[in-house]
């Protein structure tokens, strides 16, 4: 049948390697000669069986950290935001850094689901489900930080504009309010997209599980999906529309987050290309997190033929590419600080290079711009350890990027008499660590209870879906 990639090469020398660069043919995306049933078996097994030991080994510490996170939030509520290192002038400390960090991570899921879908990148099918899950959980973590940063968290609902007797409204000209809209829109659309894509697969789980309670639960969650032609028809329409709706959201959320900084007159914040620069950074951080999760998962869950080396290599390339955009942004920022000829602009960047936070800046350059360069080497893109080194570097580097942006600009603003250095407290540090606990807890629960791989979508990119039957000969080109 007509397809975007006629001529899947299914004649590999090594059936577990599909990372060749032969331009005359496209590499297969599902390996090991798996049929439709094999894919369902593999993907459903994780959700249907009692979790493996490694799952518990990750889950219990994660829950402990999540508990710590909520305990510290309780401590914060009971005591006040003074437990953080925030001061004047650095009124935005860890909370906003963590918020931007987590929102950024949430971008990769939507990019993979929506933009790669529109670009017909079939390899996205194996990783989109858990990248989307990662998105949702990252946004959950992100949403908590501004909520607890408002000072009187029991009034956090004042963030939302609602008619009230006090005739009191949020400041509509403030990008912080735009953030409320942008992030909540993003969270709801991403959730919808994630869930819509999952419905057929949840129905698969419903049909396969032998546990009565699970059957009822999956039954309710799958909305009575029968897999009829009409269902599929509606599903495809909905999926396409949601993908189109999600695409501008990939740009909008982090653009609005960047406005939090860029509308200010603060040197180092006020620069016009902040929106696309932040979006690229978000995708960068997001793909690092995708790799951080995908590389171990494909080994631990036995998905090596579904999430193949090619998938991982492609993610590495996207990470490297967005990393180069981010590096471009750092370079351009420095250049324009000089080119602007403006006193404060130039000063703040000199401060970044050699001021009290010099270590943060250079660490950022090392982690975000230098270490990930190993991804240029193909061997490094195929070796799980080097991939993890690069991904971890980016995870940390993207956090430091926000640290450098937030803290250096705030701590040394226009008037030297108001300068003060920012030092995080133990609560800051443990809260950040605790947010990882929450993230991992959610993610591990997802691995256990929901279809980790988009079963129905992966099947569409198997060689079989293109009319060649189970095991193949070389007669695949040309159709």
């Amino acid at each position: 049948m007509a397809s975007i990639t006629p001529g899947y090469d299914v004649t590999l020398e090594d059936p577990h390697r599909n990372t060749g660069d032969d331009p005359t043919r496209r590499a297969p995306l599902v390996l090991g000669g798996q049929g439709f049933r094999d894919i369902t078996d593999k993907a459903a097994a994780v959700a249907l069986n009692w979790p493996a030991l490694w799952w518990w080994a990750f889950f219990l510490p994660s829950v402990a950290f999540a508990g710590l996170f909520f305990s510290l939030i309780g401590y914060l509520f009971a005591t006040g935001v003074g437990v953080w290192g925030n001061n004047q002038p650095a009124a935005w400390g860890f909370p906003i850094i963590n918020f931007v960090f987590w929102v950024g991570i949430g971008h990769a899921g939507t990019l993979i689901s929506a933009i790669l879908f529109l670009f017909r990148q079939n390899w996205r099918t194996a990783i989109n489900r858990f990248a989307e899950a990662m998105t949702i959980f990252a946004v959950v973590c992100a949403g908590i930080f501004p909520g607890i940063h408002v000072g009187r968290p029991w009034l956090a609902f004042w963030l939302f504009p609602y008619p009230n007797q006090m005739a009191m409204w949020p400041q509509f000209r403030s990008p912080l309010l735009w953030d409320v809209f942008a992030v909540s829109t993003y969270a709801s659309v991403s959730l919808l997209f994630w869930y819509t894509g999952m419905v057929p697969d949840i129905a698969t789980l419903r049909d396969r599980t032998k546990n009565r309670i699970a059957k009822v639960a999956y039954g309710i969650m799958s909305f009575g999906w029968t897999g009829s032609s009409r269902h599929w028809h509606r599903f495809e329409k909905a999926y396409l529309l949601l993908a189109a709706l999600c695409t501008p959201l990939v740009l909008s959320v982090h653009s609005v987050v960047s406005f939090d900084f860029a509308v200010a007159q603060m040197p180092g914040w006020h620069t016009t290309f902040f929106p696309p620069y932040f979006v690229a950074g978000a995708i960068y951080g997001g793909f690092a997190m995708v790799l951080t999760l995908a590389v171990p998962c494909r080994h631990l869950l036995g998905f090596r033929d579904i999430i193949t080396e090619r998938h991982i290599e492609n993610c590495c390339k996207v990470m490297l590419g967005t990393g180069m955009i981010v590096t471009y942004a750092y370079t351009a920022e420095l250049f324009f600080a000089w080119y602007s000829g403006h006193h404060y602009e130039r000063s703040i960047f000199l401060f970044r290079l050699g001021g009290p936070y010099w270590w943060g800046f250079w660490l950022l350059i090392l982690l975000n711009c230098l270490i990930p360069q190993i991804m240029w080497i193909k061997k490094c893109r195929l070796n799980p350890w080097t991939i993890m080194i690069a991904a971890m570097a980016v995870n940390a580097g993207m956090w430091f990027e926000r640290y450098v942006i937030v803290v250096t600009s705030l701590a040394n603003d226009f008037v030297p008499s108001s300068w003060d250095q920012f030092n995080p407290t133990w609560v800051d540090l443990w809260m950040f660590a605790g947010s990882f606990g929450l993230f991992c807890t959610n993610f591990l629960l997802f691995l256990k209870f929901l279809p980790t791989v988009a079963i129905a979508e992966v099947k569409t990119v198997t060689p079989e879906a293109h009319g060649h039957g189970g095991h193949h000969d070389a007669a695949t080109e040309g159709h």
């Binding site: 049948m1 006020h270 080119y339 000063s347």
Partner: protein
Amino acid sequence: MAHHAIPELTDADTVVLGNRAGPWYHGLLALGGACLVLALILAVLFPDGVERFAFAYIVAYAFALAIVWGCLFFTIITTLFRAGWCAMVRRVAETFAACVPFMAALFIPVVVFVVSGTGIPYPWAQPFGDGAHAADVHDTEHDADHDDGEHHEGEDADETHDNEHARNADFDSPAGPARVIASEDADTHAEPGEHGEDANHAADADHGEEHADAHGGHHGPPTFMGENAKDWGWYGGALEYYVGVKYPWFEGWFWALRWIVYFAVFSLIGVGYWRLSVRQDRTKDPELTNTREKWAPASVITFALLTTFMTIDLLMSLDPVFFSTMFAIIFFANAFTAGLATMILVLTVLQRRGYLPNVTTEHYHDLGKLLFAFVFFWGYVSFSQFMLIWYASLPETTYWFELRGVTTAAGQLGGGGDTFKDAAAPTLGSGWSWVALFLLFFHLFLPFAILLSKHVKRHPFWRVVMSAWMLVVVYVDLYWYVMPVFSSPEIGLGFLPIDLLTAVGVVCLLLAYALRLAARHSLVAKGDPRLHESLALDTNVWAPIHAAGNGK
């Protein structure tokens, strides 16, 4: 659906135009030459016409450059992504990308403008080191920084500055920075004292900067803003100050060196990719695809970096005071839009003449999608630049929008009054405001709504209309960037014939050169190993889910 045979390339796809392109080539060459000559004649006949021609040429050049750069980017980015769908249409992009050396030739008039030392159209390209005014700067700056002192003896321009002053004195109603510079210099002769003081301020600020840099200390802002919120009085001081602060960026030798690097590197990329593709026509060697792909990442990175600097040099430095990190990205958005629109139009013209029968609606659909995406992207980056500058309302950048009629803020350009209200932007509601609104609606809202439709992207008539439309608005956008430097708040529509003739002339010459290149080789990259994907392209079956849903 199932088991469609992949269409075969026909002779009409792989045809080499050869002599058949001759009449077109000569026609374009003659038209282009005639337009430029006519524009020059008009320029000489009318007062200020030559200056206007310089600006019109910059707009026209930027427009032609946008087409070439868009096609260059298309070539390298689709190679980087190993795209198969575009193999049928890629040769058009490659041919335009190979026109970089020709763009270098078209750059010669710009070099002439700069060497003339008049500061038109680039205000930095004039001698600042003249008269009492600048002498003061010299003295003070020598104390602060010896390097800076040297730079005022602009090497290109010394011999012409006498002429220039004679001519500048003729300007009596300053409008737009280009004029202001001139009148500022004329003023200098009349009232050296007042401006000497200005220059001292500037030099002081500079001195303070040195101090701050050395000690990590703190100093007041430069004193250019609001000093003379009248008749652009402050701009002259700011201009001189910033050209000095940005040393050595606006040195003639450095400027020349940069342009040599731009053209050398981009020629290497543009011509290189075209050559590799053309060679593959003969050899059908997939290894050439690997070579192209191997160099694609480096090419894209180089493209991003050098295009940034090139945009500063070509467009942003028309106003050496202004800076914006988004600026180059907006030019890039325009360039890719122009490149795609040109590809669609050129492919249509070729098909009308019976060539390229295997370029199908599907290919146009995909090109149309990219065009749509970049309509959106242009809106996104343009809005971001505007909104952020407008919102922060810092005088050093807001004036740039004021010049272009889109802000009420501050009145930096001088309403003339003492209070904020009196000084409200005189440009608001001027012709440039209407151009800005035109861009908002015709470069963003309307094409967004229209191109959203699949039927428009696939419709043989409407896609041509929309492509032509997008080319026009890209030109208007560049016009809106460049021309207010020459005249604001008035657009100076009387000069429109010069502007348009210049644009048509430059574009015709570019098309002629591209046609000449195209005529020597197949119209399709017939050796591309992914051609079968492009031949079988079917955008209706693109979603993997559809593929399964439709079954076999």
